[in-house]
């Protein structure tokens, strides 16, 4: 059984595997991190690297990450590119439309801190964390697909350590 391999030694089996006992935290976290559906949403240059990552060569599907076009379907949103002030209000709204639990990955220098546009960009939001909370930052301009994958694995680790009882920052 796949679930038994993924959930670690806290799983107990009875009745030759028909009944398993584990903690709610472990089961919830395991299911959340194994199917992080992603918002099909690109902003700028980084969006092309995001597409390249989800295409055949790097293949995001193996992490259970599938792009969905509606914010109602998704668990994670990748902020992939320059966030202009005009777009920032829309991103805030999309974020609010997502059902909890929701996670945010800020991809690339522009989304992290304004990137090459931080100095003269009167129109660029200097970091997406000014409007929505970010879980993982991936640096790069644009980050390589390998870097994005690393960021997503870090996010999975983060989800694995969540607890219903206590909030882990």
């Amino acid at each position: 059984m796949g679930i038994l391999n993924k959930l670690d030694n806290s799983v107990e089996q009875f009745e030759s595997g028909n009944i398993i006992i584990t903690s709610m935290d472990k089961l919830l976290n395991w299911s959340r991190l194994s199917s992080m559906w992603q918002m099909f949403f690109g902003l700028a240059c980084c969006a092309i690297e995001m597409m390249a990552t989800s295409a055949s060569h790097y293949d995001l599907d193996r992490f259970g990450i599938i792009p969905r076009p509606s914010p109602r379907h998704v668990d994670i949103i990748l902020i992939s590119g320059t966030v202009t002030l005009k777009m920032a209000t829309r991103i805030k709204r999309l974020y609010d439309e997502m059902p909890a639990p929701k996670y945010i990955l800020s991809m690339g220098s522009c989304a992290n801190c304004g990137g090459p546009y931080w100095e003269h960009g009167y129109h660029v939001l200097k970091g997406i964390d000014r409007i929505i909370p970010v879980d993982v930052y991936v640096p790069g301009c644009p980050p390589r697909p390998e870097a994005l994958l690393e960021g997503l694995i870090k996010l999975q680790e983060r989800i694995r350590n969540q607890s219903l009882a206590k909030h882990i920052a």
Partner: protein, 372 residues
């Protein structure tokens, strides 16, 4: 029976919409399923390239041109660098010219592969997208060999190149040319001549040549309407006049001239022409130093220059005014996507909502190029 009360409906498409290729917003006025008016709303990716350019020195502007049309960074660099070199009045070594042409054509292939793949995705075919991105990955690998970057290179410098090419690059490029020909045949069979795809795109969004010319449409979008206009032939820059290749135009092989299918197929055919140029160029690269003409300080005399090039999206031009200082006084970019999108209202009227997606995809727009 009393007459049915009907009224127009306003539908908002974007800025978050999977088929707007970025953050374009379209406001559609609908009569039932029929589109009455399409109004593009721009500015969601306005990064003020032109204002940035005024605060930078000439070489520092090159990375910003990369980020303008991020699918064909090499062509953007080439156009800007040619404009600066014209202002400076410097000649670059023959070797540099050859490598630049090879890079620009490789970039054209990569850009067209994305255009074909995402167009298939727009029409509901996921598989061609995966195949195209697989092949694009092979082109990006070549760029990685020469300059280390995958997408945004800063490779073409004023007066030269940042790195010389390696023997590995030459052998791998030759392998790619051999590899891509049968692949393109396969993609054509998979998508271009697929009955469902033709039904979706043929006779949709017909752009008459006179409308296209009036609106300043260029590139494959113009050639799809049967106009034989390609700056590589009509106004050759760099060393394009040395190579033998054809201008691909929409011939109405399927559908009618100027429809979505013809605009699309021009891109598929152009990949073959780019391969031909690369084949001719790769064997005749002369020896030389790629940085021998790079100036220590780029400080042109007061004046102005305009250079236009054929980018994969269309006619890309840079107009630079110099006041004799280290920074450009003004840089104006004439971006192809911005002019191409201007005809969308005219040719979408009377079509269904789903066709607007196909029409938009057939322009192959990049929002970084539209909003700049």
């Amino acid at each position: 029976m009393a007459e049915l009360r009907t009224e127009e409906m306003i539908l908002n498409m974007g800025p978050q919409h999977p088929s707007t290729h970025g953050v374009l917003r379209l406001v559609l006025t609908l009569n039932g399923e029929i589109v009455e008016e399409v109004k593009p709303v721009l500015g969601y990716l306005h990064r003020c390239f032109e204002k940035h350019a005024e605060a930078m020195t000439y070489p520092q502007v090159i990375p910003y041109t990369d980020r303008m049309d991020y699918l064909n960074a090499m062509s953007n660099e080439l156009a800007y660098v040619l404009a600066v070199e014209k202002l400076l009045g410097i000649e670059v070594p023959e070797r540099v010219e050859y490598i630049r042409v090879i890079m620009a054509e490789l970039q054209r292939i990569a850009s067209h592969l994305v255009a074909i793949g995402t167009y298939g995705n727009d029409s509901g075919a996921m598989t061609p997208f995966l195949y195209c991105f697989m092949d694009r990955e092979k082109v990006l690998e070549l760029f990685e060999i020469v300059c280390g970057a995958r997408m945004l290179y800063n490779y073409i410098w004023v007066g030269g190149l940042s790195h010389d090419i390696t023997p590995e690059f030459i052998t791998k490029t030759k392998e790619l040319v051999k590899y891509l020909r049968p692949r393109m045949k396969m993609i054509n069979n998979l998508l271009s001549y697929n009955k469902i795809f033709i039904e979706r795109t043929a006779k949709i969004g017909i752009l008459p040549p006179e409308v296209a010319i009036n609106a300043g449409v260029s590139g494959p979008t113009l050639r799809g309407s049967g106009v034989k206009y390609d700056l590589r032939k009509s106004d050759p820059y760099s060393i394009y006049n040395k190579f033998d290749f054809d201008i691909c135009v929409g011939t109405g092989e399927r559908g009618v001239v100027g429809d979505c299918w013809n605009r699309y197929i021009v891109r598929a055919y152009e990949i073959e022409q780019s391969l031909r140029i690369i084949e001719q160029a790769i064997d005749s690269i002369p020896e030389g130093d790629v940085q021998s003409a790079v100036p220590k300080r780029v400080k042109p005399v007061a004046g102005e220059s305009y250079v236009r090039t054929e980018s994969p999206k269309g006619e890309l031009g840079y107009y630079i005014i110099s006041d004799g200082s280290l920074n450009p006084y003004r840089v104006k970019a004439r971006s192809p996507s911005f002019c191409n999108i201007s005809v969308i209202n005219q040719i979408s009227r009377g079509h269904m909502i789903a066709d607007v997606v196909m029409i938009l995809g057939s322009f192959d727009i990049v929002l970084g190029c539209i909003d700049r």
